[in-house]
């Protein structure tokens, strides 16, 4: 379970405050969507949960299963179960995708005091997960995300999510840059990972993604706060009315 209480965050080197006392709870098994206009702080929220350094937390706390993660480095948060699917996955030339996947899985296992994966087991797991997401073998042989299309990058994020088996998944505008077929494949990948032990926080501008990943809860974010919470029908309403009534232009 993820609990965020009165979170106040500014950009580290500037006076600009982005999150202004944000409260949010995502239960195990719940799929919560956050919708909101550009600049409302959605991406900042995802980065702060995952442990990016460019921000300063002025107040509040983020608890994962009751434990405050704000004291943890990003890698410790990952090992504790937080996974952020990036809006723009980074290209890392020179790092083979398989090398990276193995390093990540083993680093998390090590942090949890588990034995490292044996190579045959690792390859079996990757192949099984890649097949489900329609990821070709040659993509796994290429350097991480280098030369991947938008859709391939997002599928690679979901592959990592499947392999790392986190308890709290944050999807930051996973629909951006995807055509309708890629969107469906990615959404199916996410839906296959839904379970009663795993929470999802799905950040998006558009209702479109939520047709495929149907949320239990929809939150509206504006000016660094959650300003309204409702069921999945709230997304449809927003699609019609826009964000103007929440004090920001869309």
């Amino acid at each position: 379970m993820l609990e965020i209480r009165n979170l106040v965050v500014k950009i580290a080197d500037e006076d600009k405050q982005i999150l202004n006392g944000l409260n949010l709870t995502v239960n195990d098994g719940e799929v919560a969507a956050i919708m909101g206009p550009n600049g409302s702080g959605k991406s900042t929220l995802s980065y702060v949960i995952a442990g990016k350094e460019d921000y300063e937390v002025l107040d509040g706390e983020i608890l994962l299963n009751g434990e405050n993660v704000l004291e943890m480095e990003a890698d410790q948060r990952a090992a504790a179960g937080i996974f952020l699917a990036f809006q723009y996955p980074l290209e890392i030339p020179g790092v083979a995708t398989m090398t990276f996947l193995k390093a990540a899985m083993n680093a998390q296992r090590k942090a949890r005091g588990e034995d490292e994966l044996l190579t045959p087991d690792f390859i079996k797991q990757v192949n099984a997960a890649a097949d489900k997401l329609g990821i070709a073998k040659d993509m796994l042989r290429r350097p991480l995300n280098v030369g991947f299309s938008g859709g391939e990058k997002k599928r690679m994020e979901i592959l990592q999510m499947a392999l790392l088996s986190p308890s709290m998944c944050i999807l930051d505008e996973t629909d951006s840059g995807l055509d309708i077929d890629a969107l469906r494949i990615v959404a199916e990948g996410v839906n296959a990972l839904r379970s009663k032990n795993r929470g999802f926080l799905v950040i998006t501008h558009y209702q479109r993604l939520l047709d495929h990943i149907v949320p239990d809860t929809v939150h509206v974010m504006s000016q660094g706060k959650i300003v309204r919470t409702g069921g999945k029908e709230l997304a449809l309403e927003l699609e019609k009315s826009g964000y103007a009534s929440y004090g920001e232009a869309a």
């Binding site: 995952a50 350094e53 990003a74 990952a78 990036f86 980074l90 030339p93 020179g94 790092v95 899985m105």
Partner: protein, 449 residues
Amino acid sequence: MAIVTPLKTAAEQQLAQQYADAKAELPGGPAVRKLREDAFAGFEAKGLPHRRLESWRYTDLRALLREARPLATGPGRLDAARAKLAELALDATVVVLVDGAFVPELSSLEGLPEGLSVQTLADALVSGRDDLPRVLAGPSVAADDSGLMLNAALMRDGSFVEIAAGVALEKPIAIVRLFSGENEISVYGRSVVLIGDGAKATIIEVNACLGKAPQQLNVALVVEAGSETEVEHIRLVTDQSEGSVGVFSLLATVGAHAKFDSFALVCNAATVRQQHFVRYAGEHTEVGLRGINLLGGTEHSDVTLIVDHEVPHGTSRELFKSIIGGEGTGVFQGKVVVRQHAQKTDGSMKSNALLLNEGATMFNKPELEIFADDVVCGHGATVAQIDGEQLFYLMARGLPRPQAEALVLQAFAGEAAEFIADENVRALVMSEVEAWLAAREAASQVSTV
């Protein structure tokens, strides 16, 4: 008008004495003796290269060599050299030079393939072959470098390799220079590789010090590659003892329709100056010069290169990657010269450096000197820190910071090594890079505990 006589430093005076004492027994017939005399006269007029010369601006050899160490006269103990060779496990035709002297019992020169001949430089110098003055001179752009003049005057040994036209060598030729590091000595060595038209070869140069005593090294490799040749040159400068100063020169002349690629790795290397002089002797030739510099402590690595497009339709690619920590200093001075007739030249030069902390320094100085009007030439030089976004991405997947950094750095450096065609050699280079990064990662973990 007053006549200005430059004041000689102690080292320059000692070098003059060393040359006077040694010249009678240095190998070579009359032509070589004359070449040595001319070279030393040139050196005496110029002195050791110093910072007021643009090409030596960042590596002041006159200040670095306060004293000229005694000339090495023979190989030191061989047991450490034997162990190092076993560790390298080169699958190659190996020529071993210890403290500058050829060591036949450590070399593997039996059963050379047809079309390959290997002799010592000393033997070649006394052979009286009439192409020696031309071969030893190298590209004209190297002619007024006083470091090379000193090398020509004092060169004692090395290997002299000839590959016949049309021969494609299966195994690389490895010139392994090991320095026993038992005593403070200086070594002047030169090797020559002559590659006949249409031949294919890989040349590996290994330079490593095995002991603790500081060394003064001045070694050169001359490569003359004929037309339609394919040549790959790999140089490793590793494990130089603290206080050592090494000058490593490459003099390459490449014929028409040829491909010449050179790669150099510098790590754990005290003070190193590399200078590449490359001349295009024929049209439609591709040259690639690349390298990785890994620096920490107070290490200093200078890569200075001159690529001389003398003829049309030449392609040149330079890519150097430097990772600098501690109080290390990296230098890249790359000059691409395109002469007036060298139309349709295609040149691209890049030097990228990552500074790991405050106190690390990089001097980047790319230069283009273009006299032709129909060319495509570009250069880029960057100095940056580790990309925080990449680091965050990897850490968000569970990699602890030191491991994430090592992965990013390995990838950064590896980009230059990707061009190494010989897989075994590429693996050897990357294993050195990985070892350097692992040592850094271990050190950073100790310091955070």
